[in-house]
């Protein structure tokens, strides 16, 4: 455990260095400092990935705690974010990636223990692969597209109103980039989300012996799934783009975030492992 703590501190250090480097590099327009910041952030992610792999491979499924799930969630959001950074080569993502990583990692790190989570009796590994894996991956994509959607609305408004572009705006990528992220989150995220939800409903009777009533979290998840499906249809078939697509995505992410964090606060639920522990 001590060893993982050392590694975790190192990850925090790398992310912090990365954030500082990137911001200093930009404000003082020093390309090399900025590059070093970026490199430090990537090194942090590599180590973070190692830690996450360690959790997945070394911890027996029945020992997984809330903290573990939180860590994995943070990691998958970051993974999506960093993939976006790499693919889009976007200045904006490179600026926000390291502080976001730092924040998420520290949040997860502070809650690294906690109650264990009820797991289904049989086929635990498969359950993780089919339920938690796809759900986290789609959440990662959603988070990325959520950020992009906010920026889209910002830039869209500026272009429409012919407002002055600030230094920050000039660093931002073109409008088309955000829409592409939105597209990715819909076209890959929706099937993943569907898979995760379906697996959940298949395994649920095993854990709680008979589906026995609806859990609020499950209701929310179904609602999100329905909204996601509508978005999928509108975006892929009807060709919705731009502002409306961005608004839809913001709605989906906000609701799923609420179902992830909020439901546990306000309603009784048997999905105890959620990130509510953080709050």
């Amino acid at each position: 455990m001590a060893f993982t703590n050392v590694l975790s501190t190192l990850v925090i250090l790398l992310y912090a260095l990365g954030s500082a480097g990137v911001f200093w590099g930009i404000s003082a327009s020093k390309a090399r400092v900025r590059l070093m910041g970026a490199m430090s952030t990537w090194a942090g992610l590599a180590l973070h990935t190692l830690l996450a792999m360690g959790v997945i491979l070394l911890t027996p499924p029945e020992d997984l705690s809330r903290g573990h799930f939180l860590q994995l969630l943070a990691w998958s959001i970051l993974l999506a974010y960093f993939a976006g950074w790499k693919v889009l080569k976007s200045g904006f993502i490179s600026v926000t990636a390291s502080p976001l990583a730092l924040l998420l990692f520290i949040l997860a790190f502070c809650k690294s223990d906690g109650a264990q989570v009820e797991m289904p009796g049989a086929l635990k590994e498969l359950f993780i692969i089919l339920h938690i894996g796809p759900l986290y991956a789609s959440l990662g994509l959603l988070a990325l597209a959520f950020g992009a959607a906010l920026l889209f609305l910002h830039m869209d408004r500026k272009l429409k109103s012919k407002a002055k572009f600030t230094e920050f705006d000039r660093e931002l990528p073109a409008l088309g980039v955000y829409d592409r992220l939105n597209h990715l989150a819909v076209i890959f995220g929706f099937p993943l989300y569907t898979l995760g939800i379906a697996a959940g409903f298949i395994w649920a009777p095993q854990v709680w012996s008979g589906s026995g009533g609806w859990d609020p979290k499950e209701i929310f998840s179904l609602f999100v799934w329905f909204l996601y499906a509508v978005t999928f249809y509108l975006r892929i078939v009807r060709g919705w783009r731009g502002r409306k697509a961005a608004l839809l995505l913001i709605a989906i992410f906000s609701i799923s975030l609420f179902s992830l964090l909020g439901v546990n606060l306000f309603m009784p639920t048997r999905h105890g492992f959620s990130a509510a522990a953080v709050i």
Binding site: L159, F165, A174, L175, D179, W240, R241, G242
Partner: protein, 659 residues
Amino acid sequence: MGKGLCLVGLNHRTAGVETRETFALAGSDFLENTLFLPVGAEKRASSPIREVMALSTCNRVEILAAGKGDELAETLLAIWAAARGGKTEDLRPFVYVRQEDEAVRHLFSVASSLDSMILGEPQILGQLKDAYKNALESGSTGTILNRLLHHAFYAAKRVRSETGVAAAAVSVSYAAVELAKRIFGDMSSYQAMLIGAGEMAELSATHLMNAGIKSILVANRTRARAVELAARYGGRDVPFEELVNYLPEVDIVISSTGASEAIIRAEDMAGVMKKRKNRPMFFIDIAVPRDIDPGVNSLDNIYLYDIDDLKEVVEENLAQRREEAVKAADIVEEETRKFRRWLEALEVQPTIVALLQHSERIIREEWARTSRRLELGLKETQALEQMLEAIVKKINHKPIVFLKKLAEDEGGAQYADMVRRLFGLDEERTAELVHGRHKRHETVSKIIRRKTGYGAHAADRKEFMTMRTELTRDKAWELLRAYNQEEFHLRHALILEGVMRWFAVELGYAEDQDFWALAGLLHDVDFERFPQEHCRKAPEILRPAGAGEALIHAVCSHGYGLTAEVRPEHEMEKVLYAVDELTGLIGAAALMRPSKSVQDMEVKSLKKKYKTINFAAGCSREVIENGAAMLGWELEVLMEKTLLAMRACEEAVPESASL
């Protein structure tokens, strides 16, 4: 005396277009026959112009010359006026004259496009390069202008890459293309449509082509014109009446027709957007009255900019460039300073000194290598060293006389530069640390060791302490004055004397404080006269004066790792080693303060200065940190103590004037 740089010129601010036309220098035979001729060999003696070049564009004329004397500017003006069939007096009201640094600064500003009518426009640098090429080919430039122009190109490059002076678009057509990039990003998969014609619209189309747009459709009321334009952009023409049918295919529309009412209406666009599955569109409406219904802008995924919007963008961008110009001016200032340093190095006197040091260094190094193998007595050693010194002087005698003579009647800069390059003197100069400590001199310490008997069986601490010196304070001061004239060096010696005395008391060596102070006073005794052999000459100076071996060891050891391999052993030696550079840094930091004093300086602000690598860069942080490590102190402790020591002795060190 100045270095003889002069720039005369006029530009769009000082002269109207008519005057600029009258005094333009276009046509190269003017340059060669009139302006450059005085530089030719036969006229050299009579003209003050040594080097010259001229830049002439529609917005400015700049004539830049290096030469001698005060008549340089007048001569340039006279030649210029005469060449254009006018009188100097006609020219004078419109002309500015810049000398020395001012000329350099002006040239750098011009090259960086800070002086241009449109701030940051890129053409001027190309024009300056062409003008320089012409001058170079006609042979009218030399050492100074060649270096100056290359420096100007470098400054311009820095301004361009480090500031936003040339960043945002300042023409309507280019601003439109920048906006398109903001919407679409990479342009290679998008199509544009040009409706109507006109200079601005066509310019926008050209910029789009340059930005890599996939293709351009052209619609025009006159079909023939459409065909012609389409051919020019490698696109295709579409019938004007059906252009709305083609809108689903295109992403960017540039419209500039003379139509009296809108040719694209908002209600048309709903259908178009449906057909193109809401892929975004960008409309650029350059026409007045407008071609495109402003209501189009309120539809999702459509962005419409009209001519007024674009003009506003251009205004904002210009304002932004003006802000960036402040940053650029700093760069110009910095480069001007750098150039001045180079110019100053061209003075003959420093070159002579560098030349002498150069040959002395070589001979010393060889002598060190050889004498190590020979078992020579003191007498032989002295005789041989005298001989070597004589050789240095004799070999350099002729070149020095030659340089001095040139300096008087021809401006020896070219020759000084040549000598510098011939002997690689500047390479040596940059390799040196500020104290002239040379990393290459490690062999030297071995001689010291052999001669002084130190090193191999290093001094037993007790024995070391008993080796008192016979040198008195007065004799030491006399000795120091004999070898040092520079106030700066004398002050440094006095500061170290006081600081070392303070440390002696502080560290419990009160009874040895005179000895500590003496080491401080004399530690750089050989530096001014023999910067290349710093710490090596010291024993030869100190021993005859009656200095004990302990003192000599202490003095030599402060160059440990730099000029000597004599390791600081005694605590006193470690203190000396550690504070030598640090006092320099503190002294420099004190000068930055309003009080010019260390009395009110805090360790915190000193640390800040210490961390600023460029501040007093000559004071080696490495040495200071090594010193602190030797003493086993934290850096902060060393700083605090040294600061206290300097405060204590500040009063005692006289102002420079009284030295």
